[in-house]
Amino acid sequence: MAVAAPQTRHAEHEGPPVRPTGRRRWTAGGWLRVAWIVPLAFLLVPVLVLALRHWLSYPSSPFSVLNPLDDSGWNDDFWRFAKQDLQPLITTWTVVVPFAFLAGIGGFDYWAYWISGRPTRPEDHSGHGARTWRDYFRVNTDHKVIGIQYVVTTIIFFIAGGLLAMFLRAELAKPGMQIVDPQGYNGLFSVHAALMIFLFIIPAFAGLGNYVIPLMIGAPDMAFPRLNALSFWLLPIAGLMMLSSYLVGPFAAGWTNYVPLAVQQPEGNLFFQMGVQWAGASSILTALNFLVTIITMRAPGMTFWRMPLLVWANFATSTLVVIATPFIAGSQFFILFDRVLHTNFFDAGEGGYPLGYQHIFWFYSHPAVYIMMLPGFGIVSEVISVFARKPIFGYRLMALSLMAILILGFSVWAHHMFVSGMAAWLRVPMMVTTMIIAVPTGIKVFSWLATLWEGRIRFKTPMLFALGFVSMFVIGGLSGVYLGSIPIDIHTSDTYFVVAHIHYVLFGGSLFTIYAGFYYWFPKMTGRMYNEALGKLHFWLTFIGFNATFFPMHWIGVRGMPRRVADYDPQFANWNLIISIASFFLGASTLVFLYNMLVSWRSGEPAPGNPWRALTLEWQVSSPPPVFNFDEIPQVVGSPYEYGVRGARHAVLNGAPTTQGREAAPMEESVP
């Protein structure tokens, strides 16, 4: 990574942080401490669990059947009971080992000092900035380093989730079973969905926001930098936990994990429940951090009505995360208790209410749809305004529609349950609110179109993805309106129509905006330009591959092909073969993206501070930004979107008004 001049300037003053040497390297926070503390915790758990169960004389303790005087097959009994003990063991492992890891890497160091009453080390800012690539593998409190850690981690899990999807499509290319058995197939789509949702889309937005938001609002860092570092390190834990379910057989009840199926599944299901807790904790803590940063750390003059829409979008999203995520935590706790403690939250025979799970789950997971969409709305608003060289149309309504979606998002959850057998009177109100929520979304779409109207559009890669998003999201949104109306939903429930819909919303919607964001801020984050030709190639390959893969699914869905079933009727064979071939094409198009990112990061052209001639504050500093973002906190004096408006200023930085990118006329291709 290119080190900008301002960074070295600061580095001269402070020097690199002093790292411990000799024996103290094993006790100071870092990978060496992880190397002994994690195996120790891993071994300690079975000892403690088995000892405790033996001491409390639980019948299933394997030691209770250990009778050395009787050699008639105690071995079998021992292992049978040991296998029964696997659930409490896995649960305890998935709680204790992550804590050991976080303690080992140094995520708790500061708080450990605080707790014990020792003087806490004052923040000397030596942990800010990344001097070598190794700094990205340490606990770092710099929001820019954390942002890059987030983005790279999520891309890795994106690749993992994508490979699982390739296996799915390979299995579905032909009717009959070829590659996996039905349980394995269920595992593939469950892990695919869980990784894409919890380890890619949600945290990728958190990563971009982490990098950009403090810069955009004129703050030197996030409000709680240590908490920020901790919330990042929770993320790889959650992802590895979900992937490690493959050690005992993957969780296979879908990412929705409905009861009673989830309770009857093998042990792998526990990895989903605990993985969700860790990923959820990560996103709640990040959201809390965003909210406090946005409320308390805005630059002077940066009123709420002068905030860039990305900041608005993350404000709305963070509110959703803080309020809604505890409900999925609760829902997975109940399943965990039902499995491990043999409680009866959802067992109808014991007075439980099975549909209760779906209500609690969707009370989170419908707002989660907006958690996965609103930050994308923010990114697209930035990109479209900058590349159309026009003020965003209806700025206030754009912000207010985000808040309207936030509130309405909590009133539509049961439209996922029209065929579940829930109370019939709940169906029509949920249908009506679902239709209403299309209104603020429609306001946004029309505002983007009005922003484009008569703009001087530059078709750079971020803009292509933003335009691709608007068109594809309209398709996904419309099929959502279809699914929101009860009669159509009853016909298409659990068919490929739903698969098509969710992929038009999450792939054509969220993923396209994430790509737009990656390309848009790539020069800022790395200090280098990406290859524009490869970027455009990536867009067109993705756009074509995406439509070829998912559009036919509408058709076979309406014709009745059920989703989440490993085998299918031979009448769908041709379409599925076409879809599978298109999906491999789509998967391969990601290689262009990865190649472009990796090669450009290493040896791309050095990026100027403001390659897109944008007005927002992150583009007014060098690329990559100085260690502390700004030498002085800027003074904000106007709207962030006044492109082409003479004399308009967004901010005053270091005593000079921000002029880069202000004027719309002089452009590289069209000089009047």
Partner: protein, 204 residues
């Protein structure tokens, strides 16, 4: 590489001080938002409780033959409510720079909280049903257990504040006693939540 014009060289050893754009202290706002999230976590457990109690038809609540120790829990409620007052006293003491009051208040709060937890543990062992006994038992132990976990976390926070106040930390300025105020806010939340749990589970 293009870079902004820098202000004349003066030694920057740290970031520029962030602008303060809200009258609320960042850390106080943080704990309030965290508590909002916690309220929703309790909300999911209350939802499960009401599903088992109202959506599923029950002839009696609690179902025969189970009974809830309403009066023992009332004593526990009084203990926990008292601890909120001692917590408030501790905070007011350090605001007036009265360290003995701070230490005594935190100690009393800690001991009252511990008493609450021990009484609850004793109640659990003699209550006559287990988490696996009907959705009733599950949601009862779910709600009270979740609350008990929060009391446990609160006790930890109080203990850390106590250790630091014995070591002479904290002062009367608003900035200097956040380490007492924030555990205090959490403790009041745990207290108010218990009143709601008590009324919902035991009384009505």
């Amino acid at each position: 590489m293009a870079s902004v014009a820098h202000a004349p060289e003066h030694d920057h050893h740290g970031p520029p001080a962030a602008n303060v754009s809200s009258r609320v202290d960042a850390r106080l706002l943080g704990i309030y938002i965290f508590i909002a999230s916690e309220v929703m976590l309790f909300g999911s457990f209350f939802t499960a409780f009401f599903f088992a109690r109202i959506i599923v038809p029950n002839e009696t609540w609690p179902p025969e033959p189970f009974e809830l120790p309403v009066y023992l829990a009332l004593i526990n409620t009084i203990i926990l409510v008292t601890s909120s007052f001692t917590m408030h006293w501790a905070l007011q003491s350090i605001k007036r720079n009265y360290r003995a009051g701070l230490i005594a208040g935190l100690t009393l709060t800690f001991l009252l909280g511990l008493t609450f937890l021990l009484i609850q543990a004793r109640e659990y062992t003699r209550i006559g049903f287990a988490p696996k006994d009907l959705a009733f038992g599950s949601s009862f132990f779910g709600l009270t257990g979740l609350h008990g976990m929060h009391v446990f976390v609160g006790l930890n926070l109080l203990l850390y504040a106590l250790i630091r106040s014995i070591r002479g930390h904290f002062g009367p300025k608003a900035h200097d006693h956040l380490g007492v105020e924030i555990p205090g806010i959490y403790w009041h939340f745990v207290d108010v939540m218990w009143i709601i749990v008590y009324v919902t589970v035991y009384v009505i």
